[in-house]
Amino acid sequence: MSTNNMSDPRRPNKVLRYKPPPSECNPALDDPTPDYMNLLGMIFSMCGLMLKLKWCAWVAVYCSFISFANSRSSEDTKQMMSSFILTPLSCLRLSISAVVMSYLQNPQPMTPPW
């Protein structure tokens, strides 16, 4: 038994595989920032497109960038996360298209909302 103390404590026969923690409640518990920013980005880009307000479209671009930077998982292949990953990218696309459309329809420079 004394040799056990001196020798290494490793036990190859007792290896357990890594199980990713069940994420039914975790995404909601952690940091809701990416979800909020996603929603805001969607709303602002729709506003910008419909009401032709350039500043709305720019704010939407910012929101989608923030949502992307804060997004929770970097793995696109994870099944659980796929629904969470698609929306930040789609928000980015939508907001950029809102900006582009606003400028195509009205090439004037932006007037500040104040």
């Binding site: 290896v15 890594y18 930077a69 997004s71 932006m110």
Partner: protein, 479 residues
């Protein structure tokens, strides 16, 4: 449909607003035409210049001389601008003509030109006609902001990754000497060490180690600050936060005795006591100071029993805690660990959440990769704690107290959920009855039907009898 109508209305409103910008032009053209009608004789000449900007018409009413019509400012009109230059240049062009002709008519030209001056409003050139980059200053600002954000994202991401790598490099040896499997993301078919961190996020890195005596496995989570998000960086300038290393060791059931114990900064302990299920149930007192054991004032202790604290706070542990007190956020040993309290809308969950014997450590990290060596002793403390948890056993008294506590907690929980469990049992019984009845109805053979019905009836009678017997027994006992 209503939404569609409102959108149409909104679009129309904005369309008309944009059209209003052109009203100025139309008004002026109307006024020019009105003036032209006064001098209807010269309509032919007027029509040519109607499309151009208003011109000043100087007409001589001298019957003797030929009537000439001067269309001034025609050359300048090609630009289409309403600038001050027009009025000045109009005046200078009258010089080539005889002043004598116009002696008596100085007023008239003035009045006619003043009449023509009235409708001219000097308007600023709209921004989109200026054709200069300066007018797009807001757009440039926005794009610069976006570029700054992207730069910060890249820099933050790199810094976090460098910190993680530095941490892993310093700790790799210690981990590999203690665990068979260092680094696993759960996707490989065989259990081989990947030997690298699992990047979950731009600021969270995981490492799973397994294959050691006493414990099932150890999950290390490096939670860095969100350096990749500019908003977070700005928010952090207001209140300082630091990186955290969270270590969760899952112990084997037979290698840890039953106790709940926590040590850490006061703030962290208060928060944990509120959040964690087991701490709130078993350690109901406020965090006590650890000065009795030689701990610095910044650290406090939450414990189920005094005996546990005495057992845990041996010299080596105290040494670790005092020397690295600034790096330690919290240390939590528990056999009833089930995570944070779950808030459910429909009231209490029907059964107690699963518990696992775990040791949890939260350490504050460094901001520079080269300082990662300072965290190495903390990992030593973790390994020491694992071995200690295996060795530490409560004596008989302590064990009794611990068992009593656990029974008490379970009883409380059962009481709270009694009503719900009753309802659940009732509904289950009803389901069973309904299923049986359906089976009886569905039986096509009348014989079988009759037999099943009789069986059900007999069962019900038996139940009634049993209940009556119980009531009788209770009555006898009461007497």
């Amino acid at each position: 449909m209503k939404a569609f109508h409102t959108f149409c209305v909104v679009l129309l409103v904005f369309g008309s607003v944009s059209e209003a910008k052109f009203d100025d032009f139309e008004d002026e053209e109307d006024i020019v035409e009105y003036d032209d009608n006064d001098f209807a004789e010269f309509e032919d000449v007027m029509e040519d210049s109607v499309t151009e900007s208003p011109q000043r018409v100087i007409i001589t009413e001298d019957d003797e001389d030929e009537t000439t019509v001067e269309l001034e400012g025609q050359d300048e009109n090609q630009e289409g601008d309403f600038e001050d230059a027009d009025t000045q240049e109009g005046d200078t062009e009258s010089e080539p003509y005889d002043d004598e002709e116009f002696e008596g008519y100085e007023d008239k030209p003035d009045t006619s030109s003043s009449k023509n001056k009235d409708p001219i409003t000097i308007v600023d050139v709209p921004a989109h006609l200026q054709n200069s980059w300066e007018s797009y200053y807001l757009e440039i600002l926005m794009v610069t902001g976006l570029l700054a954000y992207i730069m910060n994202y890249i820099i933050g991401k790199n810094k976090n990754s460098r910190l993680a790598q530095a941490w892993f490099n310093t700790h790799r040896e210690l981990l590999e000497s203690n665990f068979t499997l260092v680094g696993d993301d759960g996707t490989n078919k065989e259990a081989t060490s990947t030997g690298k961190l699992n990047q979950e996020n731009e600021h969270i890195y995981n490492l799973w180690c397994s294959g050691r005596v006493c414990c099932e496995g150890m999950l290390i989570q490096l939670r860095f600050l969100k350096r990749q998000d500019l908003l977070n960086v700005l928010a952090r300038m207001m209140r300082p936060v630091s990186d955290q290393v969270q270590i969760k060791v899952t112990m084997n059931d037979e290698d840890m005795d039953t106790y709940v114990f926590a040590v850490g900064t006061r703030k962290a302990l208060v928060r944990l006591q509120k959040e964690m299920q087991d701490l709130s149930e078993f350690c109901s007192d406020k965090p006590k100071s650890g000065a009795k054991y030689g701990l610095p004032d910044s650290l406090a202790i939450l414990s189920e029993m005094g005996e546990v604290t005495d057992g845990m706070m041996d010299t080596k542990m105290v040494h670790f805690l005092t020397h690295y007190a600034d790096k330690i956020e919290s240390v939590h040993f528990s056999d009833q660990f089930s995570g944070p309290k779950i808030m459910q809308e429909e009231g209490q969950p029907l059964k107690l959440p699963d518990t696992k014997r775990t040791l949890l450590f939260t350490f504050n990290g460094n901001t520079y990769p080269k300082d990662m060596e300072a965290l190495l002793p903390l990992m030593n403390m973790v390994i020491y704690s694992i071995d200690k948890a295996k060795k530490f056993r409560l004596n008989r008294e302590g064990k009794q107290k611990a068992d009593k506590n656990r029974a008490r907690v379970e009883e409380n929980f059962l009481k709270l959920t009694h009503v719900q469990r009753q309802e659940a049992a009732q509904s289950r019984r009803e389901e069973k009855k309904r299923a049986e009845k359906e089976r009886i109805m569905n039986e096509e053979d009348p014989e079988k039907q009759r037999r099943l019905e009789e069986a059900a009836l007999r069962r019900e009678q038996k139940k009634l009898e049993k209940k009556q017997m119980k009531m009788k027994q209770i009555k006898v006992k009461a007497m």
